[in-house]
Amino acid sequence: MDKSVSLSTHAHTGALAVSVAELGKSNLPWRRAAQKIAFAFLWLMGTLAVAALLAVIGYVVFQGFKVINIEFLTRPPRGGLSGEGGISTTIVTTVYLVLLTVGIAAPLGICAAIYLVEYAGEMQGRTGLLPRLVEVARFGVETLAGVPSIIFGLFGYALFVTAMHLGFSLISAALAGACLILPVIIRATEEALRAVPRSYREASLALGTTQWQTVWGVVLPAALPGIITSIILSVGRVISETAVFYVTLGGSYKMPTSIFSSGRTLALHVYYLAMDTRAFDKAMGTGAILIVAIVLINLTINYLSHRVRAKLGGK
């Protein structure tokens, strides 16, 4: 009796196994084919996307390097319709503007983010004036990050250039540019701070440290790579921005002598060359320099995050 039962069970599973095997066999060629088609399709799309990007960069760099030489880099533009001369003053202006803009925005943005995450974080869900304001500030940062940059330009023109009588100048442009990158820095720093594990904060507080000591001693060092990345990103943003500076910086091709000087950045110079002169090749050359700068920035970010990860991993 027992035997027959076990036998029939066996027979049953045996039949099932066979049918599954048959099923697998019958559609295996089809599944293989589907896999091949899917991969081929993805490969094609991926290649197309990368090719398009490389074409843009390759074209600009290739065209650009025809005009790039020491003279191009060290001579000022001569101005006028011909577009003759180099780009030395625009490089200097770009560097000044980056330093000024990031110098204004980074401390503000980092401190604001620390406040929002480490101190105002506890206010979530509470009522009262301050929590309300914090909530509004958060929402404001989110919104500003998505506002088109020309709006910041308009604002900068109205407030710094006109109302505050700073004129078309590095300082007007830097202030307007700082408004532009502030949300970038705040949000990236907030993210970096939030990514610091709660257990670090608890461990520090449990040792009898104040909240500030915890922020300074543990949270900030752990978030530093992210914060530095946010700063480097915003450097790239300033280098490649045109709209804001078009309406605040004035566009002089002369060497800036103070923060009240007018000037033009590399990106603006590309714009002026392409629109107002016949020197399209020089526009390409300037564009190539811009691309090289951006690539260098990205490489720096990669290098930094690699090194930090290695260090945290204990190597």
């Binding site: 670090y200 608890e202 461990a203 449990a206 040792l207 009898g208 440290t209 752990a222 945290l312 190597k315």
Partner: protein
């Protein structure tokens, strides 16, 4: 029991929002003894432990009722920063800072104002020795703490807690993430520490409580899932002749 009392809890309740996590807990924890807290998951052991260094306050919406005294002083009247200096904690998961071994141990003393390099060296060495880690790490104190094994990391966390010279050490399942050998090392270590510290340790492991503690408190949940203290006494008594039926069921494995 005629032992001097270090921590005293009277009619203590704790609420997470409207949820009562601890209900009417009254207990006296003796000085320089190891007190184990056992009970089923979710009965409020961690919550209770975090009472003594007021870490629960960091969670929004937490309310407490009742009294908690350390050496007869109300801990809720103290500055929490000062309290945490006197009541150290080791967490369930090893949580060293992403810094060097040295900086991890020196973190607390530095925060409390010790700047002198020689003093710091002394403290770091003594703390690592006390935590039975010195011999393994003395040659590379500048190595990242994250490169240590889990058991070493947990001993580093103990060293870090010892470095601020607390009076009480709270441990929340300090060995739950470790293998049996590392667990035994931590248990031995705890035995040697009790001469100088009052230790309160949460554990899931009945054998651990039985072999490594002097007193045991058994917590359980009531129908509303509020944690309450069922039985408390010398560990040997509690495990050999529990006075409460629920304790007996729990320690013999018939429950939870």
């Amino acid at each position: 029991m005629q032992l001097p009392v270090k921590l005293e809890v009277r009619n203590y309740h704790l609420f997470y929002g409207n949820f009562r996590a601890l209900k009417d807990v009254t207990i006296c924890i003796p000085r320089n003894q190891i007190t184990a807290i056992i009970g089923p998951s979710g009965c409020g052991k961690s919550t209770f432990l975090r009472t003594f260094n007021r870490m629960n306050e960091l969670i929004p919406g937490v309310r407490v009722q009742g009294q908690v005294l350390m050496d007869g002083q109300d801990i809720f009247a103290m500055d929490p920063v000062e309290l945490r200096q006197r009541v150290g904690m080791v967490f369930q998961r090893p949580n060293p800072f992403p810094k060097s071994i040295y900086d991890n141990v020196a973190y607390g003393p530095r925060a409390h104002g010790i700047r002198d390099r020689r003093r710091l060296d002394e403290i770091v060495e003594r703390s690592l020795r006390d935590a039975a880690l010195w011999d393994e790490v003395k040659d590379d104190l500048n190595k990242s703490a994250l490169a240590l094994s889990g058991g070493q990391q947990q001993r580093l966390c103990i060293a870090r807690a010892l470095a601020v010279q607390p009076e009480v050490i709270l441990m929340d399942e300090p060995a739950s993430a470790l293998d049996p050998i590392a667990t035994l090392r931590i248990e031995e270590l705890i035995q040697t520490l009790k001469q100088r510290y009052t230790i309160v340790i949460v554990t899931h492991n009945m054998q651990q409580a039985a072999r490594a503690s002097d007193f045991t408190a058994f917590f359980m949940m009531d129908e509303q899932r509020a944690g309450l203290l069922v039985e408390y006494g010398p560990t040997r008594d509690l495990f050999t002749r529990p006075s409460d039926k629920r304790t007996e069921d729990y320690i013999t494995g018939r429950f939870g």
